[in-house]
C-alpha cells in the first residue's frame, strides 16, 4: 500500500503545482453558481459544471500523455494502477466541491462524471478526442431524445444517458469507462 500512498502524494504535488485542476474547479464552481443564480434552475448550472469537470477528468491523465510526463509517472509506478487510483482519489473531492449549493446527489454525480473523464482518457489517451467522446455522451445523447420517434426508444435513450437524475446509469457509464481504461493502461505500451 506504500505505492498507493506515494502515488497519492505525487499526484497531490502535481495537482497543487500545475494550475489545470484548481483552475477547472474554480471555473466549474463559478460557472455553476452563476448560471444557477441567473436562471433559478439548479439543474441548468450543473450542465455547465459537468462539462468543465469532465474535461478536468480527461486532462489530469491525457495531459500527461501529451507532455510526455506519463513516462516518469509510469517509471515511478511500474504496476501503473497506483497512479490511476491516486488521480481518481484526488478528482472526486475536487469535483464534489463544485456542487456546493446544489443537492448532495449532484456532488456524487459530478464525482462520477470526473471519473468518466479519467476512464475515457485512459482508454483513448488523446486529450481532445477523449474530451469529445465524453462531451458526446453528456450532451449529444440527450439532444437525440427529441428526435426519437418511438416513445420506447426515446425512453430507453433518456434512461441510458448520464444525468443527475439517473445516478445508477451514470455510475454504469463511469464503471465501463474505468474498466476499459484500466485494462488499456495496464496492457498497452505507454507510447
Amino acid at each position: 500500500m506504500t505505492d498507493a500512498a506515494a502515488a497519492l502524494r505525487a499526484e497531490w504535488t502535481k495537482a497543487r503545482t500545475v494550475p489545470d485542476l484548481p483552475l477547472a474547479i474554480l471555473l466549474a464552481l463559478v460557472g455553476t453558481t452563476s448560471v444557477n443564480v441567473l436562471t433559478g434552475q439548479p439543474s441548468a448550472g450543473l450542465q455547465l459544471g459537468q462539462a468543465v469537470i469532465a474535461v478536468a477528468g480527461v486532462q489530469i491523465l491525457a495531459g500527461e500523455y501529451s507532455t510526455g510526463l506519463i513516462h516518469p509517472t509510469m517509471l515511478a509506478f511500474p504496476t501503473r494502477w497506483p497512479a490511476l487510483l491516486a488521480k481518481a482519489v484526488l478528482l472526486i473531492p475536487g469535483a464534489a466541491v463544485t456542487a456546493i449549493g446544489n443537492r448532495p446527489r449532484d456532488a456524487v454525480y459530478l464525482g462520477l462524471i470526473a471519473l468518466l473523464g479519467l476512464g475515457t482518457a485512459a482508454l483513448i489517451r488523446n486529450a481532445v478526442t477523449a474530451a469529445g467522446v465524453v462531451l458526446t455522451v453528456l450532451f449529444v445523447l440527450p439532444t437525440m431524445v427529441r428526435w426519437m420517434p418511438d416513445p420506447d426508444w426515446a425512453t430507453f435513450l433518456y434512461r441510458a444517458s448520464p444525468s443527475p437524475g439517473h445516478l445508477a446509469t451514470t455510475a454504469a457509464w463511469t464503471a465501463a469507462a474505468l474498466l476499459l481504461g484500466t485494462i488499456t493502461l495496464l496492457t498497452r505500451r505507454v507510447s
Binding site: 462539462a51 481532445v128 462531451l135 420517434p149
Partner: protein
C-alpha cells in the same frame, strides 16, 4: 498555402477519421430515426393530407353549406350566435366545458368546389381574434370594426372582397384577393383541436390536441346565388368523436331564414406532423467536426509544426485565413454530401415504414441542405478560432461545446424556462440552428412554437448570421493576437 493545408488535413489519419465519423454519424442517425418511425392506420397506408395551392400540406376539414356561384355575386349574413364546446381542457382535463377555442371559425367562404385542398377565400368571425379574412390556408389578415357580427363576401370578375359591419348598413372592407373560375359560395364552420403542452418526463415536451366543436346561427341572409343550401363536411368521413355520436352531430339545420351550422376542423397549413428526420444527426456530426477543427490548429502548436508552417509562409494572417478556409470549406463539402445522402436514404426508409412525407418545397429543401452544411462549417471555423486563441486543445473543445451544443441542448429541452432558452438561441452561436427550421410559424395556427418543437426565435438566415458573426469575430481576434505572439 491552401494546398499545403489541404494536404495536412488529408494525410493526418485521425482527422480524416474524424471527418468520416461526422458523415457516418450524420447519415446513421438519420437512418436510425427514420427506421424507428412507423405509422399505420389499420391495415392500409395512411391517407396523405391534401396539398394546398401554395404547395404546403394542409388541413381542409370544415362544415360547408353551399350554393353554386356561376359568375359575379355576393353573400351577406348576420352571425346571430357563435358558441361551442371544448373537451377536457386544462388544468384538470376532467370535464367538457362550453366555449370557443381562439381560432374557431364561423363565416362566409367562396371555394373552388368541395375537394380538400382546393383554393378558397373566406371572411369569418373567430373565437377570440375578431373578424379575419383568410385565403388558401396560409394567408390571414385582421380587419373590420371591433365586435362586428355582419359579414359580406362579393366576387366581381376575378377578385373576391370581404366586408364586415356592426349594423348591416355601413360596411368596412377587410380585404381583397384574386380568385376566378366556377365556385361554390356559402357558410363555413370550423373548430381546431384544443392544444395543450405537457412535459413528457424525458426532458422534452409533448403536444396534445383535444376535440372541440363550434356551432353558429346565421340569419338575415341575402344571397345572389339561388337554389338549396347543400351541406358537405369537407375533408370529413372519419369515425367521428364520441361527442358527435352521443351529443351533437356535425351538420346543418335550416329553418325560417336561419341556418345553424355545427362542426369541427380547420382550414390551415398542417401542423404537428414531422418532416423526414434527415437532420437528426446534426449534433453528433457537429461534435466530430468540432474535434477535427480544434485539432487542426492545436496539434500544430503542440508538435511545433506551426514553426515550419510559418517559415514556409511568414504572412501569419494569411496562414490563419488559409487554414480557416480549408477547415470551413472541407466541412461544408463533407456535410453537404452527408445531408444529400441522409435525405435520399432516410426518405426511402421513412416512406417504406408507412410514414407520410410532407411536401416542403424545393427552396426549403435547398435551404436545409446548404444551411446545415454552412452551420457546421461556420461552427468549425469558430472552434478553429478558439483553438488559435487558446492554443490548447482541451479548453478550446470545451469552450466550443459550451458555446454551441450546450445552449442548443438547454433550449430544446425543458431544463430552462422557454423564455431563457429562446434568449440563448438569439445570442449564442447556437442561433445558427435556426437554419434548420423546416416549417414556418403561422400566426393563425395556435401551436407551441418553441425550440423543442423545432421552431426558433430567429429567421433562418439571421440565426446563421449570428453564428457567422461569432466565428468571424473569434477569427479576427485570433489573427490580431497571433500576429504579435511568439510561437
Amino acid at each position: 498555402m491552401i494546398r499545403a493545408e489541404l494536404t495536412k488535413l488529408r494525410t493526418v489519419r485521425g482527422w480524416l477519421f474524424g471527418l468520416t465519423a461526422a458523415v457516418v454519424l450524420f447519415v446513421g442517425s438519420a437512418l436510425l430515426v427514420a427506421a424507428g418511425s412507423h405509422m399505420s392506420c389499420g391495415d392500409q397506408a395512411c391517407p396523405a393530407p391534401p396539398v394546398g395551392p401554395d404547395g404546403q400540406a394542409v388541413e381542409d376539414h370544415f362544415g360547408f353549406a353551399h350554393r353554386t356561384l356561376a359568375g359575379d355575386g355576393s353573400l351577406t349574413a348576420h352571425v346571430r350566435d357563435f358558441s361551442g364546446i371544448i373537451t377536457y381542457p386544462p388544468p384538470r382535463h376532467d370535464q367538457i366545458v362550453e366555449g370557443l377555442v381562439p381560432w374557431a371559425k364561423a363565416g362566409l367562404v367562396i371555394k373552388d368546389g368541395t375537394r380538400p385542398g382546393s383554393p378558397y377565400a373566406a371572411v369569418m368571425l373567430t373565437g377570440s381574434h375578431g373578424v379575419r379574412m383568410q385565403h388558401d390556408y396560409v394567408h390571414d389578415r385582421a380587419g373590420g370594426p371591433t365586435g362586428a357580427r355582419w359579414l359580406r363576401l362579393t366576387r366581381t370578375g376575378a377578385s373576391v372582397t370581404a366586408y364586415a359591419s356592426l349594423d348591416g348598413k355601413t360596411w368596412t372592407t377587410v380585404g381583397t384577393v384574386e380568385m376566378s373560375g366556377p365556385a361554390e359560395i356559402g357558410f363555413l364552420i370550423a373548430s381546431p383541436g384544443d392544444i395543450t403542452v405537457t412535459e413528457n418526463g424525458l426532458g422534452g415536451t409533448s403536444v396534445q390536441s383535444r376535440f372541440t366543436q363550434a356551432s353558429a346561427v346565421f340569419d338575415q341572409i341575402t344571397s345572389t346565388a339561388g337554389g338549396e343550401w347543400r351541406y358537405d363536411e369537407v375533408g370529413g368521413g372519419g369515425p367521428g368523436a364520441d361527442w358527435e355520436k352521443y351529443h351533437r352531430p356535425a351538420g346543418l339545420e335550416a329553418s325560417a331564414g336561419r341556418l345553424t351550422l355545427t362542426g369541427s376542423g380547420d382550414l390551415a397549413p398542417v401542423s404537428g406532423m414531422a418532416a423526414v428526420p434527415y437532420l437528426a444527426g446534426t449534433v453528433p456530426a457537429l461534435l466530430a467536426v468540432l474535434i477535427v477543427a480544434v485539432l487542426f490548429i492545436t496539434s500544430e502548436f503542440r508538435r511545433g509544426l506551426i514553426r515550419t508552417t510559418l517559415l514556409a509562409s511568414p504572412a501569419r494572417g494569411h496562414v490563419l485565413a488559409a487554414k480557416a478556409a480549408v477547415i470551413g470549406g472541407v466541412t461544408f463539402t463533407v456535410v453537404l454530401v452527408a445531408v444529400v445522402a441522409a435525405r435520399a436514404w432516410s426518405t426511402t426508409v421513412f416512406r417504406a415504414n408507412g410514414n407520410i412525407v410532407l411536401p416542403t418545397g424545393a427552396l426549403t429543401d435547398l435551404r436545409l441542405a446548404v444551411g446545415t452544411a454552412a452551420l457546421l462549417a461556420v461552427t468549425a471555423v469558430l472552434a478553429y478560432g478558439l483553438g488559435v486563441l487558446l492554443r490548447r486543445g482541451l479548453p478550446a473543445i470545451l469552450l466550443a461545446v459550451l458555446l454551441t451544443v450546450v445552449p442548443y441542448l438547454l433550449a430544446t429541452t425543458s431544463l430552462l424556462p422557454p423564455g431563457a432558452g429562446e434568449w440563448l438561441l438569439r445570442v449564442t452561436p447556437a442561433a445558427g440552428f435556426a437554419v434548420q427550421q423546416t416549417f414556418p410559424a403561422y400566426g393563425h395556427v395556435l401551436l407551441p412554437y418553441t425550440p423543442a418543437q423545432g421552431y426558433f426565435p430567429l429567421a433562418p438566415l439571421a440565426g446563421l448570421a449570428i453564428a457567422a458573426a461569432w466565428a468571424l469575430g473569434l477569427l479576427v481576434l485570433a489573427v490580431l493576437r497571433f500576429r504579435r505572439a511568439d510561437v
